[in-house]
């Protein structure tokens, strides 16, 4: 233990940069993430591109804990990422829930070729903290999210459709805060239609649950 109780951030960063095995890297990233320090953000983002899934999971956890301060840097570097790093960054953005990531999440949900990345982006669309947006921007942004979530309930992969149902449910719950119930009812109808049209029982069951939640409101 450090007598002063002050975490030496430079040492934690150096430990990540000099880790000599995959396991040592995972431990070093966990320690750096646990420091919850905004100056750790560039290093945590760099780890996403190291092709070390254990370290990337720890880095995503750290970035998500840091939350909004990590978003501008994640978005800035998105185009320069290799594919794996981009997938992890999308996951972090989806979990942080900052509407600044809405354009990226919309594009990824609608068009990424990797189903696990589409899944994370679709889940993220339902997970946005709308109160972080200016009041006059909320409705148009939610409409965009709603449109892509509805499309995603037709995705060829069951797990993306499942994520879209979860996203629709959380978006409907967020919409309850407005006085206009039309969107909530439109989502409920969409989910109800899925009860019969959906072929995968797991997705059908999730739509059943979401419909039940909305019906009881």
């Amino acid at each position: 233990m450090l007598g002063t109780g002050i975490v030496n951030l430079a040492e934690l960063i150096e430990a990540v940069e000099t880790a000599d095995s995959k396991a040592a890297m995972v431990m070093a990233v966990r320690h750096l993430a646990a420091a919850q320090h905004p100056e750790a953000i560039p290093t945590l983002i760099a780890v996403l591109g190291y092709n070390n899934p254990g370290a990337a999971v720890a880095a995503v956890d750290g970035l998500v804990t840091l939350g909004r301060p990590a978003v501008p840097a994640l978005l800035d570097q998105l185009d320069g990422y290799n594919y794996g790093a981009r997938a992890w960054a999308i996951r972090a953005l989806a979990l942080i829930g900052d509407p600044l990531a809405l354009p990226v999440l919309l594009e990824t949900a609608a068009g990424d070729f990797a189903l696990s990345v589409r899944r994370a982006a679709v889940r993220g669309l339902g997970n946005l903290n709308w109160e972080w947006l200016a009041a006059d921007q909320v409705l148009p942004a939610q409409s965009q999210a709603l449109q892509v979530l509805r499309q995603s309930t037709q995705d060829p992969e069951w797990v993306v459709r499942y994520a879209a149902v979860v996203g629709l449910e959380t978006l409907a719950l967020a919409r309850l805060k407005s006085t206009n119930r039309a969107t909530v009812e439109a989502i409920a109808h969409h989910l109800q239609a899925m009860l019969t049209a959906e072929e995968t029982p797991a997705v059908q069951a999730r739509a059943w649950l979401a419909f039940e939640v909305l019906r009881q409101l």
């Binding site: 899934p53 899944r119 679709v122 797990v159 499942y162 979860v166 009860l195 029982p201 069951a205």
Partner: protein
Amino acid sequence: MGSKASTLAENQGESLTVDQALANLNQTADSSLRYYAAWWLGRFRVSTPVVIEALIGALGDEVDRAPDGGYPLRRNAARALGKLGDRQAVPPLIQCLTCPDYYVREAAAQALEQLGDPRAIQPLRSLLAGGVAAAVPVPGKPHLVQPYNAVLEALGSLGAREAVAEIQPFLDHEIAQVQNAAARALYQLTGDAAYGQQLVERLQAPNLQLRRSAMMDLGAIGYLPAAQPIAATLAENSLKLIALQGILETHLHRTGFPQGGLSSEARQVLALMDELL
């Protein structure tokens, strides 16, 4: 389906039509075209009678030979026939269980499992002859003398209760994956939770491959008490979601969803899946 299939085919970098695939399969000049065509026909579920006939013919192919004496085209034809669901393929696939090529035998056992025909039970059991004592590695090869995993799993899926006594000793085979396959089959054949628990314990194994295969086994047998341990094990969320889907859907089927509504157990599994997205 048509547009999805063609999109996927383009993503593979090789766009084919059904007629082209069939023509490629039936010629003998270019082995790689035949090999790819057999895969393609299975992948895109082309199950017309003429395709089934051509694939069954390919199970007896002598032209396409690997340097080690194997029969690559037979392997792919067997895999495709497993996907296509036509039970005409059962007798010729049973013949493949005695092919000198290990990988043809493995593909045939898996295909027979998928086709679900009990005529395969007796021939599959004969591959267990000699028990664990005979289940040893082939010198210089990365596999055992028989495709035990595929055989054990097929016997479990086919409901071969008469094979329980022969399967049990494989729980003590020295290879963990074989033990898993035996536990999976025995759970399916007896419903005894002790076998399911044995697979749950594997989720703590230090080896990621073992944890992955245990997850897939638990998903395949729909062992409900494994849901929480699967969500908690160290592995990719994508695979956890597939395993939990298997568990959930087995449970939904047993509880008569949707007529019977959603049980509290189903709700718990859904909550676990939501967290993994």
